[in-house]
Symmetry: C2
Subunit: 377 residues, 2 copies
């Protein structure tokens, strides 16, 4: 029932190839003819069949975006940014959710492979080797992970964790707990590494709790352990866990930041709505989404010269996509969930800052930021 290119050709009295060109190479067709064709097309409600086009050009103008958990508020801004960036380049984004399941990740890549021109793998949980193998099936850009030979955009959570720990140390905390993330998460490893180093450098003690599900319930469930381990400050893998932890601590009768200081990572909008407002490391999620799309589409080459008529498959050649790794800056946002530690004098409330990092003259409610660094390559 939908109008095809042939219907338009018939209606406007030209050959289908002319109709085709009217859309894909307008400069090749006489303005007069062109407008006539366009009129007919509009009249019939014709729209090029992207599937058929994809069949011959080899480009679908779709890109896949695989997300660990759409329900985690960390992701939506990234998704939106990716979508709008893609839309500008006349691409569409297909989002898929894996429920934090590595197996689902793999299956989805396979399913998407033939229907998209590339896939954005966001916070993948699967193994490096599997990712590399998959990347031979379809162009991949990984987000929040580094895998050799693949383009990647990562947020510098290491730097973020360092800032957070320094903030805590500066407030007088020595016994610090780290709520780690899910198994297989590159981000979680990175945070742990940086946090451990920072705590060691500051002469403190770090207790690592995990791995855990990166959700509120995951955080809530850890409240008891946090109390038991005697930490006076906690850095959580993400805001969701931090918020869940605050809930759990509250139920245990512990006060934040009175008894325990809590800092999260991500700066989801929710972190501004809790009481107390959450101190957290802001990650540039939207920028990550945009950048990832750009990296995937940077070789938006017009249908990578194929030999239509020739027989044997031509050698792939040096179409090697430049495999850059972009690292995005993070910031510490100081709000109300962190306060002086047990060894601090009675400062009258806010953070009496003396730690080495940049200026943090924060009072509650007027968040100050300490910025990390950009290390692009």
């Amino acid at each position: 029932m939908p109008a095809t290119i042939r219907d338009v050709a018939r209606a406007s009295g030209v050959h289908i190839s002319t109709v085709s060109r009217t859309f894909s190479a307008p400069h090749l067709v006489n303005p007069e003819t062109r407008s006539r064709v366009l009129a007919c097309a509009d009249d019939l409600g014709y729209r090029p069949n992207r599937a058929a086009r994809a069949l011959i050009t080899g480009r679908t103008h779709n890109i896949g975006l695989i997300i660990a958990d759409i329900a985690n508020p960390f992701f939506p801004p990234l998704i939106k940014a990716a979508e709008s960036q893609a839309r500008q380049r006349d691409y569409h984004v297909f989002v898929a959710d894996t429920n934090e399941d590595p197996a689902a990740e793999e299956e989805l890549v396979h399913a998407l492979a033939k229907q998209v021109d590339g896939v954005l793998l966001c916070s993948p949980r699967m193994s490096n080797s599997l990712i590399e193998q998959l990347s031979r099936e379809v162009p991949l850009v990984v987000i929040n992970r580094q895998v050799a030979g693949l383009p990647a955009v990562v947020m510098d959570v290491g730097q973020g964790a360092r800032l957070a720990i320094d903030h805590l140390l500066g407030l007088g905390h020595r016994d610090i707990a780290l709520l780690s993330g899910p198994r297989g998460s590159w981000t979680s490893r990175e945070i742990r590494r940086a946090a451990a180093a920072a705590v060691r450098a500051g002469g403190g003690d770090l207790t690592v709790l995990g791995p855990n599900l990166p959700t509120e319930t995951g955080g809530t469930a850890l409240a008891e352990q946090v109390r038991r381990c005697g930490a006076t400050a906690v850095l959580a893998y993400n805001d969701l866990m931090a918020i869940g932890l605050m809930e759990g601590l509250h139920d245990l009768g512990l006060r934040v930041p009175g008894d325990v200081s809590v800092v999260g990572i991500d700066d989801i909008t929710l972190s501004r709505l809790t009481r107390p407002k959450l101190t957290t490391v802001a990650t540039p999620t939207a920028a990550a989404g945009r950048t990832a799309v750009d990296m995937l589409l940077q070789h938006d080459s017009p249908a990578a010269t194929r030999n239509l008529r020739g027989g044997g498959r031509s050698s792939a050649g040096d179409d090697r996509r430049t495999t850059a790794q972009v690292m995005l800056q993070t910031e510490l946002v100081i709000r109300d969930s962190t306060g002086p530690g047990p060894r601090a004098g009675r400062t009258d409330g806010a953070a009496g800052v003396e730690h080495p990092g940049p200026h943090c003259p924060a009072g509650p409610g007027s968040p100050a930021v300490a910025t990390g660094e950009v290390v692009a390559s």
Copy 2:
């Protein structure tokens, strides 16, 4: 580079049609041959090209899901449910976000039309007539809206609003404000209608504020107006606005539920995390997602008999999809953001319930539910 059906045929020494049948009609091919073909296919990493298949069968095995705003926590559960339901039937879901923009909605339907077998339109903002027109281009199921002649699944927010208002009236509130949703939202109209009726029936006064953006900031911005209009209780279009409003009221020095009672709609997970915890109307979002997929796929007919060889397009015939409208039940979840109104005696804290609805013996923290009704057709 990726292996095609021809490669497999060559490798296994059979005709491509046999390979094809091996995948799409296994019972038609000799088990021996079949296993040989499968071995070769596996060997070459062959996967059928869905685009090419779609070209001839007319079914892509994809379905589109158009969402007003992925960042609104109301939607993710629906998305996840739809995805898992679709996956079970060997379909994939492509999610797209419109940023609450009706124009984007239309454009997305067009873009998706040829790449999917149907589209789920979730909380659409565009006009009924446009939706009907679009439905001639691609099968549509609308969610949270009723449009004549189209299959729909709606949550009974009318019933939910009624329960909420009755709850408020029962607590002794007379001056009630309604924070309405975005322009063009069927849900918002429905809520308003039901709320107005319920308030009138209870002898109270309803002030409608809006339309508004259905976000926290949208809610926060209304705090001042709420104070000015003198309402002691507020029903918000959704939880996000309710939570934003609570923030705004807090900043104004008003206490919830001391000075103002607040109830939301949706029961997003976040509503359990605010202080005070939000009283709200729970909507069955996951069920809606599942149901919508089922409705779209109920006519999963094997490639609706097409005349491959014949000339003139055959008459469409009576393939009319049954146009059911399913209505899903909602529940009132009483938490801590609602309390006695100005005319109530000094009840000692909790909700002294006497309104007509089902049992609500709620104390804060132990939420009770009052269920609505199912009206399927």
